[in-house]
């Protein structure tokens, strides 16, 4: 039994049922039934057309379940009465699932869970493990999400930006347990970018590849964070970097810049530098200027201050930082870094300790505490 094949086919079959008018939750139940049937019978009689087999069995299950319910019969009649989907159905069915799972009526966390379930074909248990919540909790979250989108008709394409945001969230969740969410996000984004002609989909894929390529170097064996400048660049995945750069360049050539392409451009400049000292900070600042223009985000302004500090020196960096809201997360950490480079070790140590106090994850807190300790150990008293 080829599990990867089944996992790949699950969203395809689900999407076809949904396009034919099946309610999302009912379609999912039917597909699960068909998968169970496949696991049971395929080893003895492998079908010539696995997808066709699954669609037929799942659709039959859906109709059976629908017929069993009087209220549902009316809906079935309504579906039957509708005109055929016509040639427009040639548009990729899986794409509809992306839009359905990223529907604006869902909260971001529901959208993420549903995307992993429906498009990614992950089991509820796998998603629960990745998010470190009990399986029952995740099952509830997913079934609530399914109820929310049931009855949504996808007669218009949804907003690509929402889908990209959901995939970005999946990627940022990182990884734990038996499902690597970062790798899963890359797989799904790769599929999406192949299906739609959108520079930002390519930009997001490039961004993920360029970040993911540095993953092995980003943590020490004991789990401690390794800052970019201290990473062993020999451990970066150069093939993945090359792919990210290629995808990005093709996207940039379309001349429709968006925030993901700009972020990917910054990541590619980091990936391109043979050493931290040789990083092209001047160009990175220019990309941050673009990002500020595109998003106006205070977090981007904060990152820009770091880049300015590297390109022009700590004083201009601190001047750029003064323009940023001091209540932002990591503001103190950036201030500490720039103060240290400016030679004010006492202020830097105090700011590192303050930043550690505000850190939201353990690795970051320990890293910042170590920075404060390093400076305090160097100064008398």
């Amino acid at each position: 039994m080829d599990e990867a094949l089944l996992r790949g086919l699950t969203p395809v079959v689900l999407a076809i049922l949904v396009r034919r008018g099946a309610d999302f939750a009912a379609a999912e139940d039917a597909v699960q039934d068909a998968l169970v049937e496949a696991v049971r019978t395929w080893p003895a009689e492998p079908p010539r057309d696995p997808k066709g087999w699954l669609v037929t069995v799942a659709w039959r299950r859906f109709l059976d379940a629908t017929r069993a319910d009087a209220a549902r019969r009316r809906r079935e009649d309504a579906v039957d009465a509708e005109p055929d989907a016509g040639p427009a159905s040639a548009a990729d069915d899986t794409l509809r699932l992306y839009f359905l799972c990223a529907h604006p009526s869902l909260t971001p966390s529901s959208a993420v869970a549903l995307t992993l379930r429906a498009v990614g074909g992950l089991t509820t248990r796998q998603i629960a493990r990745a998010y470190l919540v009990p399986e029952a909790t995740m099952a509830q979250r997913i079934s609530r999400a399914k109820r929310t989108v049931s009855g949504v008709r996808l007669d218009r394409p949804g907003d690509v930006a929402t889908v990209l945001r959901v995939l970005y969230l999946v990627f940022n969740e990182g990884y734990s347990g038996d499902v690597d969410l970062a790798a899963e996000a890359i797989r799904l984004t790769r599929q999406l970018a192949a299906r739609i002609d959108h520079p930002e989909a390519a930009g997001l894929l490039a961004l993920m590849l360029l970040h993911h390529a540095r993953r092995a170097a980003r943590t020490a064996p004991d789990g401690a964070l390794v800052p970019l400048a201290e990473q062993d660049r020999g451990r970066w995945d150069t093939r993945m970097i090359a792919e990210g750069v290629r995808v990005l360049q093709a996207a940039l050539a379309r001349d429709r810049l968006g925030e993901y392409q700009a972020q990917a451009a910054i990541a590619s400049l980091h990936a391109d530098a043979p050493t931290a000292e040789e990083t092209d900070w001047v160009q990175i600042v220019e990309w941050y200027d673009e990002l500020v223009r595109l998003t106006g985000s205070p977090v981007v302004r904060l990152n820009r201050a770091v880049a300015v500090g590297e390109a022009d020196g700590p004083r201009p960096g601190l001047a750029a930082l003064a323009e940023v809201d001091a209540s932002l997360p990591r503001h103190a950490a950036v201030a500490a870094y720039l103060r240290e480079r400016d030679g004010d070790l006492a202020a830097a140590a105090r700011l590192y300790a303050e930043a550690a106090h505000e850190a939201t994850n353990l690795a970051e807190r320990d890293h910042l505490t170590r920075q404060a300790a390093r400076l305090n150990a160097r100064r008398p008293g």
């Binding site: 106090h357 850190a359 353990l362 505490t369 300790a373 305090n376 150990a377």
Partner: protein
């Protein structure tokens, strides 16, 4: 088996013997401290006495219902108490003696100068269901 909650405090507990704020340690001392705690948890996992643990951020606030149609009242961070929980660990052990022994071991985590911190840990037994069969 009996479950116990081990509470580590940021502040509010009596002062530790070796009481130096962590940002005054050397980076090596911090690493040693973290390794000691990780090793401790790993060893309890092997003996089957580990249940769960979690570190908590120092920030936090008090929240209280303020009546129908009104937003909850918030206060803090911790205006009314000096006690802040830094993290917890749940252990499942044979009895009180073993729980005290383990808490003592965790309290001996190395701190500044590589010497044990001797920090106070709060040890609280879980309340359990009433037994279905009385002895």
């Amino acid at each position: 088996m009996a479950k116990y909650l081990l509470l580590k405090h940021y502040r509010g507990a009596p002062d530790a013997v070796n009481n130096v704020p962590m940002d005054r340690w050397t980076p090596q001392e911090i690493s040693d401290h973290i390794r000691y705690m990780n090793d401790f948890a790993a060893r309890l996992e092997e003996t089957g006495e580990y249940v769960d643990s979690q570190a908590l951020a120092p920030g936090g606030e008090w929240v209280r219902y303020d009546g129908e149609g009104r937003p909850p009242v918030t206060d803090g961070p911790f205006a009314e108490t000096k006690d802040v929980i830094a993290g917890w660990m749940v252990i499942d052990v044979d009895g009180h003696d073993r729980a005290v022994e383990l808490a003592g071991e965790l309290s001996a985590a190395p701190g500044a100068g590589g010497r044990p911190i001797h920090e106070w840990l709060e040890l609280r037994p879980f309340l359990t269901e009433a037994p279905t069969v009385t002895e």
